[in-house]
């Protein structure tokens, strides 16, 4: 399950970074990648459904704790992300025309797109920071430990790799 979460999260992050730089991909890829990103975010939410229900249910009942802050940040990120998608669709040059829809919109949607994208960037950074321990643990388990196993220096000291596994399991 952790591996699936990590794969989905890494995919979302890479897609987000590429989508944030339309000069890199070109606008058609920017738009279609963002649509795919929206679908992946729904999968991300489904994978974390238990956490959302659990923290959401206790939100007004318990005192301040880190999960509550994370819930607020994640909610704001969701709002920002919907804003990015909504404004992006409204100023779409490739996605909507492909579907045969033409919308004449004003400058406001462009400004909202920029504003919500900037807010999204800030909130993604906060989201990562609040999940830092999980990210470090997963990187140790799925990146550092396999690479360490391949290196002869670390192969002679299996305790180092085993320790990182124990840390994650705990």
């Amino acid at each position: 399950m952790n591996r699936t979460n990590l794969l989905v999260d890494v995919s979302i992050f890479l897609a987000f970074i590429i989508a944030m730089e339309p000069r890199f991909s070109g606008v058609p890829v920017h738009e279609w990648l963002s649509v795919a990103l929206a679908a992946t975010v729904v999968v991300h939410l489904l994978l974390h459904w238990q956490w959302i229900v659990s923290v959401g249910g206790k939100f007004f009942r318990k005192l301040w704790h880190a999960s509550r802050l994370k819930f607020v940040v994640d909610s704001l990120l969701f709002v920002a992300f919907v804003g990015i998608m909504m404004s992006g669709i409204m100023i779409s040059k490739s996605f909507l025309p492909t579907l045969g829809v033409q919308i004449q919109t004003g400058q406001v949607w462009r400004q909202l797109h920029t504003l919500s994208a900037d807010a999204g960037m800030l909130l993604v950074g906060l989201h990562f920071a609040l999940s830092w321990n999980w990210i470090v643990a997963m990187l140790k388990r799925y990146l550092v430990a396999p690479v360490a196993r391949l290196l002869p220096v670390f192969r002679q000291q299996p305790g180092a790799v085993a320790a990182s596994h124990d840390e994650v399991s705990a």
């Binding site: 969701f78 709002v79 919907v82 909504m86 406001v108 400004q111 950074g125 609040l130």
Partner: protein
């Protein structure tokens, strides 16, 4: 399976409500947004109709109007990707750093119980 579809429906329902709120915001706060960073309009030369203005490249949009407009094909701008990565890393490490310092300070403030000899 039905449970997953119901959850998906709920997510889309909430997303729809939030999108409605954004639509309302766009309809009612259009003028005030023009004062925000990135919201300044580039002076348009030779564009007279509202539709032409709306479709023209704007500052604060994709920022590649200088390179042929926003429909310009992929420029392979890896530097831009690095900048975006740097922004996220800066925010994340900044907050993690603040948390680390906060933890250190709160540990120091905790009273140390004297152990009898």
């Amino acid at each position: 399976m039905l449970k997953i579809f119901m959850r998906m429906g709920l997510i889309l329902l909430v997303a729809g409500a939030v999108a409605g709120a954004w639509y309302f915001l766009a309809g009612n706060m259009g003028f005030s947004l023009s004062t925000l960073p990135g919201g300044r309009e580039r002076p348009q030369v030779g564009l007279t109709t509202g539709a032409a203005r709306a479709n023209a490249p704007q500052k604060g949009d994709f920022q590649n109007a200088e390179r042929g407009g926003e429909n310009h094909a992929s420029g392979g701008n890896l530097g831009g990707i690095a900048v975006q990565l740097g922004k996220v890393a800066l925010i994340t490490l900044g907050v993690v750093g603040v948390q680390w310092v906060g933890n250190r300070v709160s540990r120091r403030r905790k009273p140390v119980n004297a152990v009898p000899a």
